[in-house]
Symmetry: C2
Subunit: 588 residues, 2 copies
């Protein structure tokens, strides 16, 4: 028999909360929370992605939104459980225009964290399962249009006689996942993919690239990878999957197409976008413009004085495809994060002489360790316990960013002990290791700056063995005709220099396509305002500009790894659908 006490407690809390909201008694509602409390909301109350931290913030939000949202029908969706000495329960609810779901966590009868998210818009549900389309109009019909005829008509019309409601720039996992969501919601959209085929954004990366995240974390919406799919997907296999996905999901993906310029007309409330479609100039007039050009923006080309005199080859990791042409060459890799490591291994495997130049310490975690300790809820074991991708996504989203450092620090305390020998050996090789300013490790670096970490799949042992030389704690002063001169006066001869120095913020892509003025108005993407280097405060509680309204009307950012693209694409799509349907979406 399961313990019914947690469910009774959660049920009582939810009833009291519902009663307070019904009475519009915001103080009573807030009093149901602990002092140290968090309410993370995805669209349901705020039509935004926001975390209210503390009772005062909750009261303020409720005062601004309760009358419009009219929440109701709060109901537990499963038996509550005891997790980490608190009661945890899933629930469903409704607002005037949507159905929602959430997760609450109680401690001593009061709420520590509340998570609310829109599931679907009433009257605009996706057609799936029992509600799926029939696929054919039975009976006889002299005006019958077949599926393929309708698809061809749609493809011919969209972007010429009919305008897409939404234009998505970028056909990687972010753009395709959003495109699929919009398709299922009936929002006309075009995806611009600069390469010749969908999936080429993966195919064009360096030869040995394999996803560092495991398959259970990487599913796209609607079509999970099959059971025999490898744990770590090779880049070309991912390319094929994305290409297939675009086709089977019936996405309007324009390949060999780049976005030349875009301007928003405040009067018309639409964009004018100039597109190069396989050499033909097309002007589109979408109502919304979504940048899905990768988790980050354009390549970050660091300033290298003397680059003009350097007689060797100088390239950025985004231009690096295959190390085999560098066999026997002296190669300097600037940067010691993921791409720096992957490129170094690829060069070493190709028979090049590799020196990695580490400008600042790196957070390194062994892949096996991270899979076992960090990806527990995205795993075969989790599936066996009934935790599928959707449920795992909700569990992850239900934890406010503010509380992540605490649990991540605990995780890295365990990891450092478990892999102490590995870290000792790596340090002894001269490689500088850190776990972030506050010892919170890889995931917090990913959210704060998206840089400075490596999931070790083999490079570290090459460094330990001295097969890849590391120069750490030095800065590049200038390039010379034959190599690099460092700030400590030492020199390194190099035939090839590869900058694995990451990418700029996505808002730099906006600057290039829309304008510097709009880019500056919108500001950088990503980061939490944590106050660490490259993620200046003030504290925001959510990722800057991602998946939510920005300072520029009708301009959106969709991005992140496969998991974030999968999960947040739903909320970008729901925001766009609501606007298309004329549903009021007051942004809090």
């Amino acid at each position: 028999m399961s313990d019914t006490a947690p469910t009774r407690q959660a049920s009582a809390w939810l009833a009291a909360f519902a009663a307070a909201l019904d009475a519009r008694d915001t103080a009573a509602a807030a009093d149901l929370f602990l002092d140290d409390c968090y309410w993370r909301d995805l669209l349901a109350f705020t039509w935004n992605i926001r975390t209210m931290e503390g009772q005062a913030a909750i009261i303020e939000m409720l005062k601004a939104t309760l009358d419009g949202r009219r929440p109701s029908a709060w109901s537990l969706s499963r038996e509550a459980t005891v997790e980490n000495s608190g009661v945890e329960a899933g629930f469903t609810f409704e607002t005037a225009v949507a159905r929602g779901e959430g997760i609450l966590r109680l401690r001593d009868g009061k709420c520590r964290t509340l998570f609310t998210a829109v599931s679907e818009l009433k009257g605009h549900e996706e057609k799936k399962g029992a509600g799926r389309p029939l696929g054919v109009r039975h009976g006889a019909d002299r005006g019958r249009e077949t599926w393929s005829e309708r698809r061809r008509r749609e493809e011919a019309a969209l972007g010429s006689t009919e305008q897409p409601y939404c234009l998505i720039v970028g056909g990687g996992q972010g753009g395709l996942a959003l495109g699929a969501r919009l398709r299922q919601l009936g929002v006309p959209a075009i995806i611009l993919e600069k390469n010749a085929r969908a999936g080429d954004s993966w195919r064009n990366r360096y030869r040995s690239l394999v996803l560092h995240d495991p398959v259970w974390y990487d599913h796209l919406p609607y079509m999970p990878f099959p059971e025999h799919w490898p744990v770590f997907t090779p880049k070309d296999k991912m390319g094929d999957w994305l290409e297939m996905y675009a086709r089977v999901m019936e996405l309007n993906c324009w390949t060999s197409s780049t976005c030349l310029s875009a301007a928003y007309d405040d009067g018309e409330k639409s964009w004018t976008v100039e597109v190069d479609r396989a050499g033909e100039r097309v002007v589109l007039k979408p109502k919304h413009l979504v940048f899905a050009t990768g988790a980050y923006g354009p390549p970050r080309m660091i300033d290298l004085p003397g680059a003009d005199v350097f007689e060797g080859e100088l390239l950025h990791s985004s231009q690096y495809a295959d190390g085999r042409r560098f066999r026997g060459k002296a190669c300097a890799v600037i940067g010691a994060a993921s791409s720096g490591h992957d490129v170094s291994v690829d060069l070493w495997e190709s028979g090049a002489d590799v020196t990695m130049i580490q400008r600042s310490p790196t957070t390194v975690v062994k892949s096996d360790t991270l899979m076992e300790l960090g990806f527990e809820i995205y795993s075969e074991q989790a599936l066996a316990r009934g935790i599928g991708t959707d449920k795992a996504d909700m569990m992850v989203a239900s934890t406010p960013f503010a509380l992540l450092p605490e649990s991540q620090k605990a995780l890295y305390d365990r990891i450092r002990v478990r892999d102490a020998d590995f870290y000792d050996r790596l340090r002894q090789s001269g490689f500088a290791i850190d776990f972030g300013d506050d010892e919170t490790g890889l995931m917090m670096k990913a959210y704060r700056t998206g840089s400075g970490y490596y999931i070790d799949v083999g490079a570290s042992e090459l460094i330990i063995a001295g097969e890849i030389t590391v120069r750490s704690g030095v800065a590049v002063e200038r390039l010379t005709p034959k190599g690099i001169q460092f700030d400590d006066g030492s020199e390194l001869a190099a035939d090839v220099i590869i900058s694995c120095t990451g990418y700029q913020s996505m808002h730099e892509t906006v600057a290039a396509i829309v304008s510097r003025e709009v880019a500056d108005k919108v500001g950088p993407c990503w980061g939490l305002g944590s106050g660490v280097r490259n993620d200046p405060g003030p504290w925001l509680g959510e990722l800057r500009n991602m998946w939510k309204p920005t300072a520029q009307d009708a301009l959106w950012f969709q991005g992140g790894n496969l998991a974030l693209s999968r999960f947040y694409s739903k909320f970008v799509a729901l925001q766009l659908k609501a606007r298309m349907e004329g549903i009021a979406t007051p942004v809090y």
Copy 2:
């Protein structure tokens, strides 16, 4: 609380059965069955697809197989239930070389039907779930071959420097499903698809074709259709899905490739197969040859005396693509089964004048009725009750063919009452209806002869309304320059005559590719030996030659609709895998 009595009964039966088998006491084992009993086995005991009917047949089979199979570890796999006043239970078991599963049905404590099937071969399990491949060899490796390099090397080698273990002729659902199963089992295979792209076998059919079976019945192995997939898949969408499937499942599908000839060498135990691969002649030497050229064989061209003087256009339904070029023309459709109806509607919708010539009565069922009453276990409702495709497949397979007529007759008794008005109106239009010789309806016609039925998706109302004219109960005597002369002396003017007269047995394809001698030795495919017209006795209890060893060594037939292709491809693949691994497969 669930009733535990059925489980106790099933458990006791299984224990007694296991004890009798352990003791090699075949009489005691047979005594656990009713007089009127059936044991259907897929490979586990017989390395064949066979149904033993009656205790004597069971004793005979056990005597021949028990020592070799050494069955053990019989165990219920779920709580038993009471179905149709009998106890039903699922179970698992093992043999010396395999793990198996089955379903038993008891009546008064004795077994009415037993079903046993191999699930997997020990030591040759598919790599999936927790056993899935890693996708990358972590660490550093100067001989590293990436996924795409390995795929390209395999594609280049297979069929030139390396021979496939198995050659599959036909890249429709049958060939692709089998190819996918073989791939997962590590059996090198090549699929020959005569068209330019995988999926073209569907794309090339007539414009308005839409699957008549619902989506829940149509899933391919490993990759189910997503939740938003339409109930009835349009043919071009099915084509795209198959093309994607071949790619994502990494099948070696040679397109624009036809099999010119094949000969078996009894000494070498291999085939010599001459292939036209996109214009290039290639000779392959596979150990096994599988015909997956469609549920049926080449088009059946009925003898039409006077065809040489007919001044109009004469074609077979397999050549019919689009009715729109027949607008305003007088069209005679010979045949009143599925393709005859579909083609007639397509012509009518295109503005042609259509007469359907019905040579023998047709079994017609309204699509809605069949979905509701006949496809109950492949439906959204079944899914909600926990019956997924795999479970439904096992439930269907567990009923011996000999018992189908009884339940099908009961189904059609209900259908005739439910749709009495529809049938009256259809008969009044002059259309001849039957439900088979023994009133067992559509599915039995499908299994016995694969012909003579139509799932009504609209044509019948056009016939009732007189929009499609029916000439029934007449035979074509001869064609005249301007049309058809019937055996009652009447004539029909026609600009176009379309023979919707079905397909020949698949063994005619063997005659064309291998030899008439081998084709005759193997004999026809499909049919149960039911004794009805076109399905002569004696009674076989299983479909002729399908998915199991034939009279010709190393020659196999894989075919059927999507559902049969899905389910039986597993057993064809397991038979081939066992042979490749040198596992003894004595065929009973």
